[in-house]
Symmetry: D3
Subunit: 283 residues, 6 copies
């Protein structure tokens, strides 16, 4: 999908938190001691490695939060592919403001583009199979909303956002409820009609019970491509099948070719390396 900008009311607290970490109570002591107030600067933000852009609009908001008089121009939007040298944005105005905002903007941009790039790598591998790459709840604390946005920028899709917006019945729920059928029945009775229900299974013989019980989605955890293929055959389209576990750039194609519709990866959010993006400033 075309990634869309998160509303500023959502991202403003994150930006203020991040700036607050850097500014403390004293502000940027180096800049204030060495850069005259009226000095003007021009900053260019460029990719230094290939990848996928995410957090560009967010970085622009960092600059504007520090100083509404900075002129920010976005040249490469969220979701666009990056090559070394691709110019993401230019910012002009007070050199002090540029230096104060630089690191916070780059930290967001580098991390989120890293998540988008990792996602895009998996997405490219499964091209043509019809399988979707989705993220999980294995996100970094305080960054879930922006990481989920970065996954979209990488061509992936979002799984549920938290414990609150969809049901996922796992082994402990099944044990406590007395079985898959009982757990599904309890969930259907308790939950609203707009809540999808997924059941996590780790054996093929559980699949039929989950489908019969009315699961919208079944998560096949840590299965081999062989087992996944069997599951696709058993399900016959009666529910959405999601594969998880051991999803890497090396393994994902084989998983996708089994016919599962969704492949989830914690790695793209909890372990994606930073994408190298730099800021060149002329003062």
């Amino acid at each position: 999908m075309i990634p869309f900008p998160l509303p500023p009311v959502l991202t403003e607290p994150l930006i203020r938190r991040a700036l607050g970490e850097d500014l403390g109570d004293a502000g940027d002591v180096t800049t204030l001691a060495t850069i005259p107030p009226g000095r003007i600067g021009h900053a260019r933000i460029n990719a230094r490695k290939p990848g996928r852009a995410a957090g560009v609009e967010l970085a622009a908001r960092v600059f504007r939060t520090v100083d509404p008089d900075l002129a920010v121009a976005i040249h490469t939007p969220d979701g666009a592919p990056l090559q070394p040298g691709t110019e993401l944005m230019t910012v002009s105005g007070s050199a002090r403001s540029l230096l104060i905002a630089e690191r916070t903007a780059l930290n967001l941009l580098g991390h989120l583009s890293g998540v988008a790039t990792a996602t895009a790598e998996l997405v490219r591998e499964v091209e043509g199979t019809g399988a979707r790459i989705v993220c999980t709840r294995k996100t970094l604390p305080g960054l879930r909303a922006v990481q989920k946005h970065a996954v979209l920028c990488g061509g992936g899709h979002n799984h549920r956002f938290g414990l609150h917006d969809a049901a996922m019945i796992k082994d402990n729920h099944i044990v406590a409820a007395g079985g898959i059928a009982q757990a599904l029945s309890a969930a259907k009775a308790a939950l609203g009609h707009m809540v999808k229900i997924e059941v996590e299974v780790d054996r093929l013989d559980q699949l039929e019970e989950a489908i019969t019980g009315g699961a919208d989605v079944v998560l096949l955890d840590n299965m081999t491509p062989d087992q996944l293929g069997q599951a696709v055959g058993m399900a016959k389209g009666r529910c959405v099948l999601e594969a998880s576990g051991n999803v890497t750039v090396q393994t994902v194609r084989a998983i996708a070719e089994t016919g599962v519709e969704v492949i989830s990866s914690g790695w793209i959010t909890h372990s994606a390396p930073n994408l190298d993006i730099g800021l060149d400033l002329e003062v």
Copy 2:
């Protein structure tokens, strides 16, 4: 150093934010539909890969924030080495509370132990050289304090915490001030007597000017081990020398053997992969 616990007044907002992302306005709908209120559970949190522990006390606070009646026992403190199977903590009490807290606790634990583990890898490489591994301001937004703590858990040290607590004179400051000597002179006049001043240089001929100007620390950016060795010879202990750029597990030993005292790495905070830590729950 022996890593110390961050005061709860510092970590409470982060914990509440992280739990809020997961709970939304509806809470854990699956658990509430399938697990009876009185059900008791016992959770064991174990490392599944070798590494270094960080965030254990923080994870304990997550459980206690969700439910003060949970009994939490820490078996492996922050800073301890981990092997597959090392038990970090056990938690007993309401199965509902355990399931609600699980993912938030593991996300913190896995990420921070990942940072500590990455740090420890570099620290191990430089053993015996006297060089310190330190982190940078290239941290993840909202997580700086806990990432800096994790670096200590891995045997590293902290660089400045932000723009506010120490001065770092970089190329743009030098240009705007009219030279290294002028920038140092301006900084010394403006800043308090408890603020250390570092100058970043990328050519050896700048080093002497920085030392003469009174820099406490000089950052040698992107230099070869050869150049670093020359810098150590030139400095003769008159300032602390810090090396940065291209610091990897492969290169760090050679850098340390040049005699620089500090080696800084952005990778340990912006790109450390998650350490695999799992929770086994019996209900």
Copy 3:
């Protein structure tokens, strides 16, 4: 379903906000001037009208937030039916604390029990039909989570919690997308596999297009029981049907008897009158 307690991390900000409105910067000036610090009091909270309890646990938290030394005993849990005289809770301890907390506790209790009572009236009317009563997004600002909880206490179910956790395609979305089929297709491509999609229609001829396009739920807005009955016949169980518009105690039975599965009402959250609940205090 059995209504469950909202986690304290969710309700604490609301409680503090409400207490803050009452206490301002000066606190309870009357009580502090007239009640000696050591004075003990015993409070009984009773229903004065028949209805359904909601907010009991929340009210208990109000008392404990004001003074952790108050002894609070809940006698009637959330979701229970109330008769005039039913005792909901008793609280003993510092008379000052009891008086400070009283109004905030009663405001929450009276409002939420009002919502539960209104819900229960509709639920009673549709008994035996299989139809569910659900709330909408027409909630009071800042109270959505607790109002949705109160709806559960009244025997109702929750619709989506906001714009974020499920999709609802309305007339404007249809116009902008170029038709129901196009809007559904765009939504399915863009949204995650755990997001349910509902389409709002106001003419019967739109229903088939919505079902064919793959809507999980179709909202039949402002239709007569006759039209609703036709819709049930047309849908043949291929999607969930929801009726809305003109839902009152007088009309709801006829709507339910058409066979729709879900009936939504804004009235139960935006217009439910307060349930009269009083606190008798002996000092």
Copy 4:
């Protein structure tokens, strides 16, 4: 009085909270999937029932908070009477922004206009008697400031805003202090010279003691018009008399005609039904 706008610093947190409930971490998923970014829309907000306007300026701020580029024109200010079809405001700009803000704006507008309308009904009944209709502390948590503003919009007046800004001596205070005279004496000694003191009595024989003790206002709780009339005769203007209890559209005129100056109603804030106000959007 002419109702005045609440300062934005007061209302901004409420608006952000309300938008946050609706947007969660994912935003308006339906709109973003189906409405192209550049699409322009025109919204008209009209009353669908007769009543009194309140919250118009607040609703305008909701739209501007979501998107400062929306053009908002207010046609009917707070406090004005409404007929079915009265246009309150028009808003033009990004269709996405309009759809994101719509429900939050309407929820505030409908609720506060409901409060103003309920107030105006009582005010109309007492026209010509000189009695004032005032609200109480029986408000909805988090909404006190805006509900009190809505009461002004309906032609009513405000009672104290909380426990902090005026004293109200009730039965428990009297018991603990040892009598009305003692409680008043304690309050006068303890409280500042800018704090008014009211005494609540439920028997006529308490009135003289309250007046003699120096009460600024006496609240006559749950008295018949007859008793109220006697109280007016006894007080002879030595204090302000307030009547409360059983105040309805049916009873309020008789109460007002007894000559009491103030009549307080909890119903106008805790039970006022929503006023039906709709938004018509062309995209």
Copy 5:
């Protein structure tokens, strides 16, 4: 009056803010490097100068916020007189926690006891005259509630808490309204029946107009004792008279002896010097 403790829900944000200023993101780096975790300490907090205690309970909460396991004993409550050596409180427990909390606790204690001491000096001067010493809105930002509490501890009384809880008609209001009578009339029409109205006058000929217009209180600004005496004679008890301007320890007795009931001082809140209170720690 007997000063009363501010509810913890009011003071908790202030305490957290103050601790946050001191702890930053790194905590107490000195203590953590030099004091072993298990080390126990005993702290005694003593006055070093004579004065009046305020903030004792608040300081106790600072220690408990840092570490709930600290044993805090209050020996001298808020409002008590202090001599050099008077022991205010003792605190025992983790030496680390004691050192972390020390400065924040002392900053609050020293400042608030300074305010109480300054107030008590004025109160002592006017003893026997019946005049009250009150504070103003000239408080330090963020500290109004606790400074107003400290004034009570010093034997003073509170003026209004802000612009919101009482009316004060000053010259600009008079000019804009067209005169004192018009301003009073507008205020009485607009404001609630629980709001007191004060008029500020700087000429004696305005006094009668203010009384006739129904002012509850008249502020006589910058008048000589002679003029104040005339005002008392003119008012004949028909309103409360408040004197302000040039109120010092030297002048206040003469002002009080004129018969005014209230004397207000900005000095006691905006300029009170810190009272020297020290903490002796044995580790």
Copy 6:
């Protein structure tokens, strides 16, 4: 140094807190009752006593926060000397907005200019000696950042901002560590290379141990000028020497003439009297 403006992201919460104290939930009831909405006013803010300006930019932000349409012109920047009559700023626009913001702006301006003025008095005394006047952690809760800024405006310098940004080894740390050498050694091992370390001594024989142990700064507490002179002779420039204790306008010159480089004073932040600054408003 030239005092620099604090970034708005740092000062906005303080401004909102201060305005919130004054506005409560009801706003400025007097102004709203007596001043018509369209009334325009012109305010001049002037010094009434000689001193030093601080908080001017902050006060300007107060006016703009209340009403972005106010036209604010700064005539005397932070750090400039003030004479009675010096015009600091003029503000024009809505008379209502001017009156609402007035007291909050003046409270900040008067307090911070008081701090700057007190600092400037000490700075003037030491002119020509080369000694710096610095503040301490004895600041008012919630105001540390702005008080530290005011110290710069007075010509002083800042000491550390809190426990987190520099180390200060005091008697208890020395006792617990087993001596000055041990404490310094522990601190150097534990702390980052950008953290300066100061040791507080109260006897001259401790000085050599502190220097030998590698202290960057030594605090000489409560020593006579004679002792301070000896210390300067002993140190021979091997560390920075700071004097504290009994620092007053009377004593500071003698202290400075001993040759110490830094003189710290708690008085300039915890006891500086308000500088009289007034606002004249024409409506």
